[in-house]
Symmetry: C2
Subunit: 307 residues, 2 copies
C-alpha cells in the first residue's frame, strides 16, 4: 500500500515575531512526506528542485523512508523559493517573494515503480499539474487527497474545479472554503463544495482546529492549545501528511478512521509550529508522537451517557 | 442543592444581518437561569427591573422553576436597556445604547430563603455588586461561577481583581483573557489568570468553542457548526447557565464533570443563537436538549487506542 506525495520541495525564508530565518528547507511535499513518514514507510515523492538543493536534505528524506527517485533535479536551475512575514497574531502573513524557478516548467513524471499506489497526496500546486498527475496514474489510487489555496481560485478556477471533481478528499482553510463556495457559514460552504465532487472536505481553521465533512456527517478536531506558535509555515501540509500517512498505514478509508487520521494529522501539525520550518518534525520519536496524540485525547474526550 | 443566579434582567434591542427587533427580553440572569432550568429546578434569582417589565415574562420564568422573590421591581423606574448591532461576521458588534436605569442604584438583597445555596452564578455586573453578593452569603456556596467583561477591566480593575480572587470558576472570552492577563497565548493567559485566584477558567471563543483550564489540565469543547447564527446575544450567559445548571443537578464539581457541564452549556448556547433573544431557549423540550448533546458527542468523539 504505497503512498505517493506530489508537491513542492523548496526553499523558504520566514519572518515571525520570534525571529527570522535565512533560506531553509520548505515545500508542501517536504512537510507532507516527512509527517507521513511517522506512520508509513513506503512513501514515494514526485517533485522538482534545482541543483542548488542540498544533497544532505535528500538523504534526510531517504532516511525517513521517502523514496526520491521521482524528485527531478534540474541542472543549472534554481529551486522554488518563497519568503513571507507573519503578523503578530500568526493568522495572517505577507508574501515577500515568490520565485517559481524550476516550478515554471515542472512536468510531473511518475516513475513506473510509483504506479499502482494506493494513496495519493496532491500538495498545493498549479491545478493543471495536479490534474496531470491524476491522469498519469494507470490505476486510480484508493484515496486521493488534494490541498489547494486561494491563489488558484483567483487565477485558475476552471482547472481547479476540474481537479476538485477528481479527488476524494479536499483540504482547504476556512477563508478558502468561503471563497470557493460563496457561503459564509462553513456548514453551507461544505455542502456546496461537496457538490463539486469530493466525497470528503477538510476545512482547516489553524489555531481553531479542523472540520471533516461528508454529505451526512461532521467531525471536529481542535488544535492543541500551545504556549507559543513559533512558525505556522507548513502546518497545513504537515497535517495533511499525517492524515494520509495514518490512513495508508491502517488501510482504512472509512469516516471513523478519517477522524483518527485528523487527530494524528493535528498532532503532527502541533509539532510543526513549535520550531522554524521542518526543524521539529524531522527529529521526532515515536514516543513523542504517541504522547502528543494522547494530549489530544485528553483535551477533547468526555464521558456523557444520555438516558 | 439550590442554585442562585444574580445578574441583569433587562430589555434588549438587537440588529443582526438577519433582521432587527424592538425591545425584547434580555439580560444575563434571564439567559443563565432559563438555560439552567433545563437541568435543575431549584433556581433562585436576584436582580432588579422597573415597573415597565412585563409580568408575563416573570410568570414564564416561574413556570421554568425559577423563583423570582429576589427580583426587585422598582416603582416608577425603568428596566436596564441595551441596544446593539452585529457586524456581518457576527463576531463583533457596536453598542447603540446603554441605559442603566434601575441598575444605577442596584443593591443585591439576598432573601433569607436564598441563603445556604450550593451553587452561585454571578452574571456580568459591576464587580462591586458581585463582591457584595458573595459577602452577603452567610455560608460560602460550594461553587461560585462568575462572568465578566472587558468594560470592567477598563473601568474597575481593582474591584474586578478582588471579585475574581473570590470565585471558583471565571468565564470570559478570548479577547478578555488576553486583556486581563497581558498574554496573547491563551495557554499563558490561563496560567496568569489562574494565579489571580480562581481554580478554574473557562475561555469562551464563540464559534470556535470553549476551553476549560485548571492549573494542570485543559479541556476543549467546540461550538456546533451551524448553518446560520441568527443572533449571538446571550450565548455566553446561556452557556454559563447550562454549565452551572448541569453541575447543580449532578452535585459534582470535579474537572471530569465540568467537562460534561461545558458540553451541556455549549449545547444550550447553540440553541440560543438560532433565534432572536430568548425565543429559542424558552421553548425547548428535553428531547431537543438530549439530541443536541448527542450531536456534540458525535462531533468530537473518536476512538484511538495507543499501543
Amino acid at each position: 500500500m504505497s503512498l505517493l506525495v506530489v508537491g513542492t520541495v523548496a526553499f523558504d525564508a520566514i519572518e515571525t515575531p520570534f525571529g527570522k530565518t535565512d533560506k531553509i528547507i520548505g515545500g508542501a511535499a517536504t512537510y507532507a512526506s516527512l509527517a507521513a513518514s511517522y506512520f508509513h514507510k513506503k512513501i514515494n515523492l514526485v517533485s522538482v528542485v534545482g541543483d542548488d538543493f542540498p544533497q544532505e536534505t535528500i538523504r534526510q528524506l531517504n532516511s525517513h523512508g521517502i523514496n526520491t527517485d521521482g524528485l527531478q533535479i534540474k541542472k543549472n536551475e534554481k529551486s522554488f523559493f518563497w519568503s513571507g512575514k507573519y503578523h503578530n497574531d500568526m493568522n495572517s502573513r505577507d508574501t515577500l517573494a515568490t520565485e517559481l524557478n524550476v516550478l515554471m516548467t515542472f512536468d510531473p513524471i511518475i516513475p513506473e515503480a510509483y504506479q499502482n499506489c494506493s494513496f495519493l497526496m496532491l500538495g498545493n500546486l498549479m491545478p493543471a499539474i495536479q490534474i496531470k498527475v491524476m491522469e498519469r496514474m494507470k490505476t486510480r489510487p484508493k484515496l486521493i487527497v488534494m490541498d489547494t489555496m486561494n491563489f488558484w481560485m483567483d487565477t485558475a478556477m476552471g482547472d481547479l474545479r476540474k481537479a476538485i471533481s477528481m479527488v476524494d478528499v479536499l483540504t482547504i482553510n476556512d477563508a478558502e472554503a468561503r471563497q470557493l463556495s460563496g457561503e459564509y457559514s462553513l456548514v453551507k460552504a461544505a455542502q456546496t463544495i461537496l457538490e463539486m465532487g469530493p466525497k470528503y472536505l477538510i476545512i482547516k481553521k489553524g489555531e481553531h482546529g479542523a472540520l471533516l465533512f461528508n454529505s451526512e456527517q461532521v467531525f471536529f478536531a481542535p488544535a492543541l492549545p500551545l504556549e507559543d506558535v513559533f512558525d505556522p509555515t507548513g502546518a497545513g501540509d504537515t497535517f495533511a501528511g499525517g492524515f494520509i500517512g495514518f490512513l495508508a498505514r491502517t488501510k482504512d478509508v472509512s469516516f471513523e478512521n478519517m477522524k483518527r487520521g485528523i487527530i494524528f494529522g493535528s498532532a503532527m501539525a502541533s509539532f510543526c509550529v513549535e520550531k522554524f520550518g521542518t526543524e521539529r518534525i524531522i527529529e521526532l520519536s515515536q514516543e513523542e508522537v504517541d504522547e502528543r496524540v494522547q494530549e489530544f485525547v485528553d483535551l477533547v474526550q468526555f464521558d456523557i451517557t444520555l438516558v
